[in-house]
Amino acid sequence: MTLGPKDEAAGEGAAGYTVGPMLAGPECCTPEPVIGVRGLAVSYAGVPALKHVDLDIYKGCVTALIGPSGCGKSTFLSSLNRLTDLVAGCRVAGRIEVDGVDIHGPDVDVQALRRKVGMIFQKPNPFPLSIHRNLDMPLREHGVRSRDERESRIRAALSDVGLWEEVADRLDEPALSLSGGQQQRLCIARALVLQPSILLMDEPCSALDPLSAETVEKMIVGLRGRYTVVVVTHNLAQARRIANFAAFFWVRDRAGALIEFDTCQRLFEAPAHDLTAAYVTGRSG
């Protein structure tokens, strides 16, 4: 990934927000599944949290997961990169394929999986290191030996999240000295720097002020096409603005279940299910 003249051209975009080479990607998504979930069930210490989820996530699209609190959205998200492995007592059943490979297969490299499937958390969680080290260290740990390569990837990732101009001259300052919105964008850059193909975001804007939230939201829109994004959000208006597809979860029989999956527009404007209709019009949840 190189930064050409495109970088400068992108710099003239919306105020306070620059878009890097990511705009070079295809306009939008292709209806080709990259993640296939079949019969997924997750339980914590024997208590089911999610049951019978069948869902395809399409390549290059933004898929929004919506639903009331506790319906298993975060659980679903973290089963996709096997972060559920780290929760003691958490059992995952069913089949999840990423790029056609069963992620629970016997010879799956979990670290490689997580490199391909990046994750962004609700609360910005930069490492208490310098801005530069936050991005450099994961690259080094993933075996990127060439310093030039690392530097160019760092620059590209920071440009992608519109942070390059803001931090270029303070890369050695602690990441925790950034504002909340900047920290969240740094975390996204930290995921991007590993060049994942899929990004999981768990309410990435909800801990941010409205202005930062808007910046991050625009950025997610900019990721469309180049990355497959799965984003949990409680903000239905936001889901409508950014997502191509939407999945609605609900608690049924005391466990989370997928009620409806469709293109974003249809799910909001012509939902097939009464529960969905009630939720998206604000009559429930």
């Binding site: 972060l83 780290l86 979990v110 490199r115 994750m119 958390f121 609360k123 969680n125 260290m137």
Partner: protein, 291 residues
């Protein structure tokens, strides 16, 4: 503090009473400490005036009754003991903390912590006894007489491992859990996360614990008195018997008079200042971490 008024020193609310009580206790404690320092300084003063600081450093030997007041061999011994003990205890203590937090199986965590606390609470005289009866004879088999610098270093190290371990654990535990999730989500393994994220984040707390442990080793008296041989000489080898400043005070105070007695207070003053310096350095490290 700038807005402190006399009236605010006196309590009116329940909170006020608690603050007043705590403040009074703090003042009392630091007041007593100050009084002790003044007392030690007062007792040391005659020696500082008549013998002078320079001679404590330049006199080659320690024959206080014959007018030779060289503290350097004992200062060097104290430093060698503390530095040697730290060289062993710092890595071991940090390793103990990391093991307990991140590697020990669940059932082992509580007993393991109990063990560390037990070691921390073992009276140093008991450790000294063990050193005297077990360690010193073992060392004597390698090179007599056994009571030596290395014997002191080993037992002191044992004594301060818990200090390092407990401080390191606190520092490691204060690294937010979100750092772990972030590291895991980036596909970093446990070792990578520990080395690159958790240890750097806990660095200053760990350094503070190590300095504090160093101060403890420097001030320890009983262990070194029992097992280092107590011969006043430069520590020129691991098997050399040495005498630490602390043991010197304990050994001679009972019968010292005049300049001899005052010069013991001088060595006490020097020790106190050194330990203060270390604790102060440990404290600033910790404050920086919370800044």
């Amino acid at each position: 503090m700038t807005s402190l008024r006399i009236s605010s020193l006196f309590p009116r609310t329940p909170d006020g009473y608690i603050a007043f009580g705590l403040g009074a206790a703090a003042c009392l404690a630091s007041g007593i400490l100050l009084l002790i320092l003044i007392f030690v300084f007062g007792e040391a003063w005659p020696a500082l005036r008549t013998i002078g600081v320079v001679r404590f450093l330049s006199d080659g030997a320690w024959y206080p009754t014959d007018g030779a007041f060289g503290l350097v061999p004992m200062l060097a011994a104290s430093f060698a003991l503390a530095a040697g003990a730290l060289t062993i205890a710092a890595p071991v203590g940090v390793a103990v903390a990391i093991f307990r937090l991140h590697y020990a199986p669940g059932w082992m965590k509580a007993p393991y912590r109990g063990l560390v606390l037990l070691l921390a609470g073992t009276p140093s005289v008991v450790l000294g006894l063990w050193g005297l009866m077990v360690l010193v004879p073992l060392i004597a088999r390698i090179e007599p007489p056994g009571a030596s610098l290395i014997a002191g270093i080993l037992v002191l190290a044992l004594m301060i491992v818990p200090t390092v371990a407990i401080a390191s654990e606190a520092a490691l535990e204060s690294v937010p859990r979100s750092c772990w999730s972030a590291a895991n989500a980036l596909g970093l393994g446990r070792e990578a996360a520990l080395l690159n994220v958790v240890l750097p984040a806990a660095r200053e707390g760990i350094a503070g614990g190590i300095l504090l442990a160093g101060a403890r080793a420097l001030g320890e008296t009983m262990v070194v008195l029992m097992i280092t041989g107590n011969i006043v000489q430069m520590p020129d080898g691991l098997f050399t018997p040495v005498r630490a400043l602390t043991s010197n005070i304990a050994l001679e105070m009972a019968y010292a008079t005049g300049d001899h007695r005052a010069s013991l207070f001088v060595s006490g003053l020097a020790l106190t200042l050194l330990v203060f310096l270390l604790s102060f350095a440990a404290g600033t490290g910790r404050r920086r971490r919370h800044a």
